[in-house]
Symmetry: C2
Subunit: 439 residues, 2 copies
């Protein structure tokens, strides 16, 4: 019995009550969302007791994921473990291990441990491909069983959600690769599958074995995250026929997952011009009848390399305010290198800003409290409160003291010209009546 | 004869042709925009030959301003000069000297020189107040003549635009200070004027002398930037009656400036929830019949201290995409300290990202070219091109090499699993026909 089936059957389980408590909503609201496939709970039964309650979808606070992991040119397991801890410390809701270099089983388990109690996500096709590359000299020797076995291994290890690029049909892959897109396929998983399909002349194994995969996920009640292999890697490619064609295949897979009683969410782009971010979210929600929408950015310009966390936070804030549920961070190293731990921190905070700005719009009663308190603390020049309420108190304190510890009541930006000091004499005192409203 | 009057009289001057050339639009379009007060040219006749052509308003690319300057607790002129150079190097369109500590005439002239050929803006009330504070022991001894003389001095020195908080009436100030706003007045200029009005029981000198001020600005054909003393300093205060009341006074002042033949723009907030950013811009544009709108951020959350450049870039991108013309940057030091040069760089780049993301929406033909080229360079793994096209090439190169210089064809994020390498074998070659569109 999966949480989805329980919800469909009208049962409010302990887990649903816990979600309701964490989110500050009604348990019946949670049950309905789960039953409709509009909410998913990111956890694998195998280690449900070790993972905090992170629900994603309609009515849930916007969540933030941090991608970490080795590449095959940069394998530093300790650094990846540190990144997992940094992501957790600075408030990521989930971590995905995207490692592609080194002993992937060992690395995944170490990252999972370091990230606990955060749910962990993976992209199992990476390991399927890389393990075969190591064993047989080339990843393209990968068999369908290699892929399915890797998925099962991740499920057994307790991975909570996995990106599966099941919607990239052989036909779509062949056409995309030969297209005049700026960047035909920018998804690594999608590229692996495209290369495999083109090499072997076979259909996407994740698609042809989708029913079997659904059976596996049902057993662990983990979450499928449907990847978007043909997501735009450049503004120019956003919402072209390749992007939309795959979206429609994914929407059908969402339906199949629900019919099988498996929790499923949809992944989205990528690179999208600012004025099409809302349309992107609305379209994805409409086609999937409200599946939780998990997006990467989106970046609203292609020329922000070195600062793509900012370009992504702009798109992410707009997307989340209009219905996206789960933001995958982008770090300043995107498009240039593997991020270092400090860049992981910057990425997490940038996307927490985006998520929170969106939650203020979606759920003002729940999300605005802290902003209201911050405004009041500022008005009182209560620095300890201001620092405590900041998304990254360490950074706030560091900047407050960046020219040396300061004992002034205001700050160095205005010194004695601080607005609160200038006007203190005339401001309303606590025991004064409020002034009548303006005429 | 001011540029505004020339435009009204149907004359297309050399300056208008230059604006048209710089912006890639038609000279007659520029003339009409100037004549309608929907475009301003940021320059003072006194040094027009030393300043580059920076026009702000409808149909003009979105511009970015960098605020720098000393405070009275941190006076390091060399650092401020360095900030001016950093702002210029990283692509700010204008610099404002907001200095309030040290010899303000000397500092302003040094910053002006370092920032050239960028237009320079100031807030003359700061100097009027601080000079009197130095001379007489308290800024509140400031006279109306002190204020007017300071404005004239700045005009004579060639300052191109000045923030004047003329719309803060004595009545509004008294009510705001006694209000239950989270932060009654967060504008320094506004606070100085409020304190002065409350102390002396007199009307705002910038308002009572507005006609005289207009005469001065007309002589130098410099630009008035109408300050928003009652802008929200917290999301909670956005679009309350104080904020809107001052906006309406400012709209009347815009009209008076136009009638006097003086170029004028309007300043805007501040702190605004994401879903009200568009409304904010539309309201300001409607009330002022399209005056160029110059906004500070806006920040879409109050809890991003240490990263307010990101919170501001989110709001700024949305605002600019919907009609705001000129973004005043916010640095990571906002609300905490005076920024250091590196933070000036981060602020400038964050807001250039916001401005560019907006220009892609407003002017795709002009703005998208570089993004299209970037996408194509990425598809070819042309690193020199990718770095060159990035908004901050130094940063992009630094991150590409952050684990040591790399000679791999891809990057460390994906190593040999790079999508472009994986699919190279099957991709369309230059001499191949394009594949037929998808069925």
């Amino acid at each position: 019995m999966t949480i989805y089936k329980d919800a469909r059957n009208g049962r409010i389980t302990e887990e649903m009550k816990k979600i309701a408590e964490v989110e500050g909503v009604d348990p019946e609201f949670v049950r309905r969302g789960l039953a409709a496939g509009r909410i998913v709970l990111l956890r694998n039964l195998k280690r449900a007791d070790r993972v905090k309650t992170v629900a994603v979808g309609e009515g849930m606070l916007t969540k933030v994921n941090a991608n970490i992991g080795t590449s095959n040119t940069l394998i530093d397991v300790n650094m990846e473990v540190e990144k997992a801890k940094i992501a957790k410390k600075y408030g990521a809701d989930t971590v995905m291990d995207l490692s592609t270099g080194g002993n992937l089983d060992v690395i995944r388990r170490k990252i999972m441990e370091a990230a606990e109690p955060l749910p962990l996500g993976t992209v199992p096709i990476y390991q399927a491909f890389m393990d075969v590359a190591t064993r047989k000299g080339a990843g393209l020797y990968m068999t369908e069983d290699d892929i399915l076995n890797t998925i099962e291994k991740h499920l057994k290890d307790g991975v909570d959600f996995m990106t599966l690029h099941a919607a990239l049909t052989r036909d779509l892959a062949a056409k995309a690769v030969k297209s005049d897109r700026a960047e035909p396929i920018v998804s690594r998983g999608g590229s692996i599958l495209a290369a495999w399909m083109l090499e072997h002349g076979k259909e996407n194994p994740l698609l042809s074995n989708f029913d079997y995969i659904l059976e596996m996920f049902k057993e662990y009640d983990a979450v499928i995250s449907l990847g978007d292999s043909l997501r735009p890697g450049a503004l120019e490619d956003a919402h072209d026929e390749y992007h939309l064609s795959e979206l429609m295949v994914n929407a059908r897979l969402v339906k199949r997952a629900r019919e099988a009683g498996v929790q499923v969410m949809l992944e989205g782009p990528g690179h999208v011009p600012l004025d099409r971010v809302v349309a992107d979210v609305k379209l994805a929600k409409r086609l999937t009848e409200g599946a939780p929408y998990y997006i990467l950015g989106p970046l609203v310009t292609d020329i922000a390399a070195g600062y793509d966390h900012i370009a992504g936070a702009i798109g992410g804030a707009i997307a989340a305010a209009h219905g996206a549920d789960f933001l995958c961070y982008v770090t300043p190293a995107e498009h240039l290198n593997l991020p270092n731990p400090e860049q992981v921190r910057e990425g997490v905070i940038a996307f927490r800003i985006a998520a929170h700005a969106a939650d203020i719009v979606k759920y003002p009663d729940r999300a605005m409290k802290v902003d209201i308190e911050m405004g009041r603390c500022r008005g009182r020049l209560d620095w300890e409160c201001m620092i405590r309420l900041s998304l990254d108190p360490d950074k706030a304190r560091e900047i407050r003291n960046q020219y040396g510890p300061t004992s002034i009541k205001s700050c160095n930006m205005c010194g004695s010209l601080c607005v609160f000091l200038l006007l203190d004499k005339w401001r309303r005192k606590k025991d004064e009546e409020l002034h009548a409203p303006l005429a």
